[in-house]
């Protein structure tokens, strides 16, 4: 891909302070947990980038998970629709539907994890909601990078948001062995603000200082904006140098990890995100086979598995490492589909 600058980053991992909410309590009733988390990350990434103007041209691509409507609504509908121990279509179409919040539909539509943030912040550029088991979020980042590279926009948000704390999701994770394998369901969101590479600013000297994106369970940060808050006027904090996905059907995960680590100049650290310790172990072993046993392998710094949000939280962790002096960090993300997503993040210098 054509490299793009990261000029802002925001991370949201509960618990978080009420004042960080992006939407009013009334609007939040139309939002899933993923949408609420994404909206906060969207708002804070824009603020971190200083993008207060021209938002109708800013793009937004987000990796999203399964629909996360509150099960209480389904149960209310269900309870009003049972007759003689069986589900009655006659009751469901009448009392059942009336028992449900009409806004429930907006809570369950997967794309609203992205759309709520776009609506709240007035974004109008190219966009997409991409379902993710891990690498789908990497695909969302690739779309954002290409949108900038192809000239569809010069500023774009990219990230992931998801909640595994849904009864059906937890049941699925349990039944498929992820819970017993050590997976801790969690939730979160992370969004990067991406812009065309800055043509004139001097490198920021490693970008040290300021709060870290993964400190204290989530915060946002950026260096001060320059030049009126537009993309080209903001000092970059990192650079997306490469994005690539290896399909699991073409290459086993371990081999894909080795291919990814070998493809680019050796990174100083590798951040791995994946569904459960088993997958992360395979990825860590693959990294060490290529880079040696002393290779620095890190997680995303979040306790638990945030599914579609995981890769984006990993990018935030990589930016953290770059702010601490690293010049190149490789982020690897795998999900249950076996695909591997790789993002190479470098210092803007």
């Amino acid at each position: 891909v054509k490299a793009v600058d990261v000029v802002g980053c925001a991370v949201v991992v509960p618990p978080y302070a009420e004042e960080r909410e992006a939407a009013s309590a009334k609007v939040r009733k139309t939002m899933s947990r993923s949408a609420q988390l994404a909206a906060i990350a969207c708002k804070e990434a824009l603020a971190a980038a200083g993008w207060t103007e021209g938002r109708e041209t800013i793009g937004y691509h987000l990796g999203v998970g399964a629909s996360g409507g509150p099960l209480a609504e389904v149960i209310a509908m269900f309870d009003a629709s049972v007759e003689d121990g069986a589900l009655s279509m006659a009751k469901l179409g009448d009392a059942g539907l009336r028992a449900c919040n009409p806004m429930f539909t907006f809570q369950v539509l997967n794309n609203f994890a992205m759309c709520h943030g776009a609506i709240l912040e007035g974004l109008g550029g190219p966009n997409g909601a991409w379902f993710s088991r891990g690498s789908g979020t990497v695909g969302a980042l690739a779309e954002a990078v290409h949108a900038i590279g192809d000239g569809d926009c010069d500023r774009c948000l990219a990230g992931g948001a998801d909640s595994a704390l849904h009864p059906v999701t937890i049941a699925e994770l349990d039944r498929t062995g992820f819970i017993s394998g050590g997976l801790v369901p969690a939730e979160g969101a992370a969004v990067l603000a991406l812009a065309t590479p800055h043509p004139t600013l001097p490198p920021p000297g490693g970008g040290k200082g300021g709060p870290s994106p993964t400190d204290g369970g989530g915060s946002s940060f950026s260096l001060p904006p320059e030049g009126g808050g537009l993309g080209r006027g903001v000092r970059p904090i990192a650079r997306i140098e490469a994005v690539k996905v290896w399909p699991g059907r073409a290459l086993p995960l371990a081999a894909a990890v080795e291919a990814a680590v070998s493809l680019w100049p050796a990174p100083e650290a590798v951040v791995v995100t994946g569904w459960g310790e088993g997958v992360k172990g395979v990825m860590g072993d693959g990294v060490r086979r290529v880079l040696g046993s002393g290779a620095k392998v890190e997680g995303d710094g979040v306790v638990g598995e945030t599914l579609a949000a995981g890769p984006a939280l990993g990018w935030a962790k990589a930016i953290d490492l770059i702010r601490a002096g690293a010049t190149r960090v490789l982020c690897l993300s795998a999900g249950t589909d076996g695909d591997l997503g790789a993002v190479l993040i470098g210092s803007p210098a």
Binding site: T30, R55, E56, Y60, A66, S67, L71, V74, I75, M77, F78, S81, G85, A86, L87, M89, A90, L92, G93, D94, G96, L97, C100, P102, T105, F106, V108, L109, N110, N111, F112, M114, C115, A118, I119, L123, G124, G125, P126, N127, G128, A129, W130, F131, G136, G139, E143, H146, D152, P167, V168, A171, D174, R175, V245, P247, R249, A250, D337, D339
Partner: protein, 427 residues
Amino acid sequence: MTGVVITGAGALSSLGIGLPALHDGLARGQSRVAPITVFDASSFPTRVAAEVPLGTIGPSTLAGPLDGLIAGGELERWHARGLLRDRKVVFAMLAAAEAWRQAGCGDAEREAGLSLAVGLEQCFLADFLALRSGAALDWSRDATAPLPEIRYRSTVDLPARAVEQLLGLRGPTTVNASACAAGALAVAHAASSIARGAASIVLAGGSDSMINPLGIGGMSRIGAPSPRNAADACRPFDRRRDGLAMGEGAAVFVLEDEDRAAARGARPLARVVGWGSTQDGYRATAPRPDGAAARRAMERALQRAGCEPAAVGYINAHGTGTPLNDPAECKAIRGALGAAADAVPVSSVKGAVGHLMAASGALELAACLLPLGRGVLPGTANHRERDPECDLDIIGEVPRAAEVDLVLSNSFGFGGQNVCVALGRWS
């Protein structure tokens, strides 16, 4: 940039199974919105829809159409696991198989990627009975519940995984979940990947069905469908329009690098020449009334195609038949095309086949192959009374003969996502 061509297409809609059924039906000006049969909707506020005429779906539904693509007994195993419970899984497989065969794909094409638009997971409400314990649900019963593997809800990417397995695809799979804009976005994503050289062949399209109790019920609760429950429920651009008709179906295309297609002797059906997407950033429940963001999506598609507005020969509108969408879309078209807008015929197929939700953009691109291939512009079923707010050359119920070289297809999603895809004649 590499040229992108469509070398195969498959489609299912209420007009029938297969792309020829869609094209024949549209060319004859047919429409099919009728009382719901796939479940008892008699107590529901919405009781009509545009169902794919497949009846109750099971392994036998698929055995013939998928013969030679899937091993004997595999469909029964999928059925037992619950993989066929969600109709859009079946639709995706059938459309992909048709496109695959029409394009003459074989082993060499299994390198293809897949870019598929899918709708909301289907909720299987009755499954919760197995967990019921008094007024609560006892999730500890899940592990031993007498339910298939796919339970409570289908998984979002199930249609894509089914197509991957069916055709043995080895390329990257991307699943677009952008509601009613998803189908067109999935095709745009595939075209973009090929144009920049990241892929040489991608299957792309969309599949969806919300004709199930919670799909129909949920849309009814937000007042999107027409309240009239009539065969002409959806009346796009008509002065009397009062809502959409729910539809279901799928369309899948084989998109290829033009040189790759030529090298293997494939005969392209059309070129994918432009695309653009924008966000309304306005409201969750309504489109921007000025159509400004949708206009920019169209302008970007034309810009990418390198075409002037006067080159556009036909626009397949999103045209939902809702009070708010249609006039906003007309403003968008007029804004994007300027003075050329008056000379461009516009129609919506949603009166005929309903709103296919996540698959609508893909199905409507399949409809756009009709003017490029047969010189017939689809009509707008149930459009009888002109609306001054929709002051374009809206094609009425009778299809129109015309030779066109460039068509645009608009898709706008709940949540404000807009996409426009431009197709060009291949010659």
